[in-house]
């Protein structure tokens, strides 16, 4: 199935949870915010969301800015 992660299409073999995706990408959960199909998903709920084909995920964090 195909996901759109931060604007780029990615192919994954089997359904995964948001939790597993974050881990697979090597991201530190404490410094990111995750949006799934335009809804913000709190960290506690990442394991409850299983990704489906064509889902859109945005993973963002803070950077320097004025």
């Amino acid at each position: 199935m195909i996901l759109t992660l931060n604007g780029k299409q990615e192919s994954i073999e089997k359904p995964v949870t948001l939790d597993a995706l974050v881990t697979a990408k090597g991201l530190c959960p404490d410094k990111i915010v995750v949006e799934h199909n335009f809804s913000i998903i709190s960290k506690e709920d990442w394991s409850k969301v299983t990704l489906k084909d064509q889902d859109m995920i945005e993973i963002i964090s803070f950077v320097g800015g004025g």
Binding site: V63, G64, G66
Partner: protein, 259 residues
């Protein structure tokens, strides 16, 4: 009595807000923030680069600082609202600098879309500080919509050109009840001093500090300039005139003859 800035329900000591973009490194930025002794620090939100192991910027911002995310990258109100909600979800608090820009050449704000975002986010309980072109009607509308302050630009972002909008900003200072904070374009400590002298509540500076040869020393210089400008404003500037007014007595000259 200590002169504090009341903003977003808090008493703020420093009238110098600092942006965290463009610093050569996070450790350098941290030293500059410490030198500036700012209480409010801005950050931006961006997509993570899943391939990089970049440091967490928040670890380099003093814990005592209020973190204010900006909505840079937003081209309309909806995008600004989305970014603000993401920032809040990250646990950084509810202070948000609204920045809605469609013009990539001058980075001038879209006041109308900014106002729409202020209306929505203030209702959601955010402490909203809109970056805007200094227009009195729009500033009034922002204030009425619940903005905690208005942030008119001095000149285009990162241009270091100073307070080119001075006369319009002065009108806001006279007419707007919420704090007026000049944001963008301040290139030197004297620019910041000028804003405080004319009665602005505070300034927000980023580029001029971040890309100075010595950002830590420049942060200190801005801090001192802001403090001097505020003291001068409170002291009441003497009036200016078009002809001379002698500061030494005009009587008792040596050449005067007594008859």
């Amino acid at each position: 009595m200590e002169d504090l800035l009341t903003l977003g329900g808090r008493s703020i000591k420093s009238r110098l807000l600092i942006g965290t973009g463009k610093f050569a490194s996070y450790p350098l930025m941290k030293k500059a923030l410490e030198a500036a002794q700012s209480d409010i620090v801005t950050v931006a939100l961006r997509r993570v680069d899943t391939g990089s192991k970049a440091d967490n910027i928040l670890e380099y911002i003093p814990k005592s600082c209020v973190l204010m995310a900006n909505t840079s990258g937003a081209r309309n109100a909806d995008e600004a609202v989305r970014i603000a909600r993401l920032a809040k979800a990250s646990g950084s608090g509810n202070w948000i600098k609204i920045e809605v820009v469609q013009d990539n050449k001058y980075l001038l704000p879209d006041n109308l879309e900014t106002l729409k975002a202020v209306e929505i986010l203030a209702k959601e309980g955010f402490i909203v500080l809109p970056y805007m072109s200094p227009d009195l009607s729009m500033a009034r509308r922002m204030q009425d919509a619940g903005a905690a302050a208005v942030m008119p630009l001095g000149s285009p972002i990162g241009s270091n050109r100073g307070v080119k909008t001075r006369e319009l900003v002065e009108i806001l200072v006279r007419e707007i009840k919420v704090p007026v904070i000049v944001d963008a374009g301040l290139g030197s400590p004297s620019d910041a001093c000028e804003c405080l002298e004319m009665g602005c509540a505070a300034v927000l500076v980023n580029t001029a500090i971040a890309i100075a040869r010595d950002p830590v020393a420049m942060a200190r210089a801005f801090k001192e300039a802001v403090s001097a400008g505020r003291t001068a404003y409170l002291a009441g500037l003497a009036s200016s005139g078009s002809v001379a007014s002698a500061s030494s007595p005009l009587t008792g000259f040596l050449r005067d003859e007594t008859r």
